[in-house]
């Protein structure tokens, strides 16, 4: 098998606006802008010197068409990477990905760092949501951020030794002695979890009152999984709070570095674990960019259909638990009955319920079974009257309205500052939906609307999702009516697993098949990225390939991570029941936060 370097110059067909921007930055910062890297990420990738980083970011933030949002921030350990032609020398690279909603474009900045001097200035002053991302980079890579107010570990326990995403940190648990817990070690870990208000710059009392510190979680019925919030209370009023995450860190990014491109697919299902194949989509799309695979209209439509079906089941789960958090017992029973109907269809088509891992590099696992349209039509007919009922019974309910109207409201500006995307962003009146703004996988062929709300409160976030389900049902109907004919796998040498018929031609095809199935496909060295509008917001996979059977670095940007970071800003001055309503309305699962 031969490896071809993909021709990046053609693939990144430089759009003029991007060029103008790069020229402008070069003019302003001279040779502090080191070079522009050609990638398949679809955005300009600029290497800049550490000294001007904050300034460059501030400039981009202030452009007439500003980059309002710090979309992602993470790092790469470059020490073992071999395909780095023409890039500045570096042991570690920290990258900043910015999103401009007004200009509908992205830019990525990279800074090279060396082992002896792993430190960077913090950029919290420009983008407040850098706070958690910088903590994550410190935790995972050991890069220090100067001026960060609380640079503590965020995902790993504070007692942890080492930085897991470094190439010299072990990946497997079984590389170590089996886990044991003694009375003493349990006690030690529990002590380490003890909250010390002083560490967070909090006072234990004010002039008139002594504050109470309430530990909510990591196991609390309203915390939706292993999530902890420490509240500083004056009576019922929340003075401040500190979310504490990392109780659900499954090391998915590290896992990608030792699974083949193909065998990582099941791990993506478990990122947003109620999103099913929706999670496969950005990953396989990013891999297909690396491989240079184009898929046909049938594959695209099947993917969209299954992803939208999962959007509905995910939103149903949201609706049930959101109302349950507000104290309504029965909605969850209704919602789960509908989910069951959805799963009946999903199971008939994919053979599995929650984690089908059904998309493949260059296609899907299997063609649609005969009779799928009948089942799907049944579901599509079932949903609309139910949605109407939900609206009537739940969203028009005066108790629900009182508990959620004007609660935890924020505007679009605030959403940008904290990296909020998805339905939570659209509830503030901003119509940024990637399915419309940057159609992928054939979304441009569908007729649907982007529901909006305007108050950005807990009520709008709930209401909006009911409307989104309606639109998804509409997309499903179009899939049933117009499913294109064609193959379910692309005709490309890197399609995995390769079509079986081709294997039996002669010995050469047999060997190729064997290698590709046992070792997995070898992808050319490059970088690619795909963002999609997932169930909870924008989910993206940023893949770095070093020309091997495995990914060199997989960065998974999940929407729920920034959504949780925003909580303290909204809740200061609120009451405990408002917090519960807000937690219900965010729609997060911890795997989508901690990965």
């Amino acid at each position: 098998m031969s490896i071809v370097e993909t021709d990046t110059s053609a693939a990144t067909a430089p759009d003029q606006r991007a060029n103008a921007l790069v020229t402008q930055l070069r003019e302003q910062f001279g040779d502090q802008v080191l070079c522009e890297q050609a990638t398949l990420t679809g955005m300009p990738v600029l290497w800049v010197n550490r000294g001007v980083l904050v300034e460059v970011l501030a400039t981009l933030r202030r452009l007439p068409e500003p980059f309002e949002m710090l979309f992602d921030l993470s790092a790469i350990d470059e020490r073992l990477r071999s395909h780095r032609h023409g890039l500045p020398k570096a042991d570690f690279t920290v990258f900043y990905q910015l999103l401009s909603v007004s200009g509908n474009r992205d830019i990525m900045l990279k800074v090279a760092l060396f082992e002896q001097d792993l430190s960077l200035p913090t950029v919290i002053s420009v983008y407040p949501n850098a706070n958690w991302y910088e903590r994550e980079v410190w935790d995972m890579f050991g890069v220090h951020f100067e001026g960060h107010p609380n640079l503590y570990r965020i995902l790993m326990p504070s007692t942890w030794q080492g930085h897991p995403l470094r190439k010299d940190h072990h990946a497997r648990a079984t590389e170590f002695d089996p886990y044991t817990m003694t009375v003493e070690s349990q006690d030690k870990e529990q002590q380490a979890l003890k909250f010390k208000p002083e560490d967070w710059g909090m006072k234990r009392h004010s002039e008139h009152t002594e504050f109470m510190f309430l530990n909510l979680g990591p196991n609390h019925p309203s915390a939706h999984g292993a999530f902890r919030l420490v509240l500083q209370l004056d009576g019922e009023e929340i003075i401040d709070c500190v979310p504490d995450i990392g109780y659900h860190h499954r090391g998915a990014e590290k896992m990608a570095e030792r699974q083949t491109w193909h065998s990582f697919i099941p791990y993506t299902d478990r990122i947003d674990y109620v999103g099913g194949v929706m999670n496969n989509l950005p990953y396989v799309l990013a891999v297909e960019k690396l491989a240079g695979i184009q898929v046909n209209a049938r594959i695209q439509t099947i993917r969209v259909m299954m992803a939208e079906l999962f959007r509905i089941t995910s939103h149903l789960l949201f609706l049930g638990t959101y109302l349950q958090d507000l104290g309504a017992m029965s909605p969850v029973f209704y919602a789960f009955t509908d989910r069951q109907k959805g799963y009946d269809v999903i199971e008939a088509i994919t053979g599995f319920r929650m984690h089908p891992a059904w998309f493949r590099i260059g296609g899907v696992m299997q063609d649609l079974p005969k009779g799928w349209d009948r089942l799907m039509q049944g579901f599509v007919n079932w949903m609309p009257p139910r949605l109407k009922e939900y609206e009537k019974a739940m969203m028009e309910n005066s108790l629900v309205r009182d508990r959620t109207k004007n609660i935890a409201a924020f505007d679009t500006e605030n959403a940008f500052a904290w990296g909020v995307t998805g339905p939570n962003l659209r509830a503030t009146g901003c119509d940024f939906d990637l399915r419309k703004k940057r159609p992928y996988s054939g979304y441009e062929n569908f007729d649907f609307e982007i529901p909006l709300a305007h108050n950005g409160d807990a009520f709008d976030r709930g209401q909006l999702r009911i409307e989104e389900m309606r639109q998804s049902v509409k997309i499903l109907q179009q899939c049933i009516n117009n499913m294109p004919a064609g193959d379910y796998k692309a005709d490309h040498p890197l399609t995995t697993p390769p079509p079986r018929e081709r294997m039996l031609e002669h010995i050469e095809t047999m060997i190729t098949h064997f290698l590709q199935v046992s070792w997995g496909p070898v992808l050319p060295g490059n970088e690619s990225m795909q963002m999609i509008e997932a169930t909870k917001g924008i989910n993206s996979y940023y893949l770095t390939s070093d020309g091997s059977t495995m990914s060199y670095r997989t960065r998974i940007r999940t929407p729920s991570f920034p959504h949780l970071q925003q909580i303290p800003v909204l809740m200061r001055g609120g009451f405990v029941p408002d917090l519960i309503a807000h937690l219900g309305s965010i729609d997060f699962v911890m795997a989508d936060v901690d990965r």
């Binding site: 009375v183 499954r250 795997a591």
Partner: protein
Amino acid sequence: MAYTLTRAEDAVAADNASYPLGKRQSVEDPMKQQVHRSVFTGKLADVLNSTVNWGRKNSLWPYNFGLSCCYVEMTTAFTSPHDIARFGAEVIRASPRQADFMVIAGTCFMKMAPIIQQLYDQMLEPKWVISMGSCANSGGMYDIYSVVQGVDKFLPVDVYIPGCPPRPEAFLQGLQLLQDSIQQERRPLSWVVGDQGVYRAEMPSQREKHRDRRIQVTELRTPDSV
């Protein structure tokens, strides 16, 4: 039937004692010895024991505790399409003090393990543990630095449910297996009556039990039509 005997430890555990605490040993059915000593009290103890066990197994209150994806399927079992109330286990408790059993539904993270232990310790006897899903059983597909390779590294597990995630039906079956095992248990009828050890029956392995029937299946339905 063989039994595993766990004795309640009087003394506070030493610092270097590792979880699960308490000594375990394999023993014969204690009831048998009773019957040998006196047929009448033996029978009486047997009837009393069965009655208490019958009560226990049919009103198991689960602890509301979820870790990850498996918990969604567990919750599904509590809702109308699967209706766990048929087995008397629908009374979810948010406090460990009121719960009878804990389902480890999801991945057991190293950061979470000490907390799980604490919550388990807060539950009152009699208490049981179901390990739901591959992650809780063995680490599953997450052989990774942050995950404990099976919750039985520190908790005593009564029933393991395979799957990733197990279907809600599988969870219900696991629950019934726990009920079967509770029916066979021997526990002290009171803190002043008799032996204070907990005798858990060693239940037959489901895999071995069903193996013959399962391997007879030679033709599977094709997935090409529904």
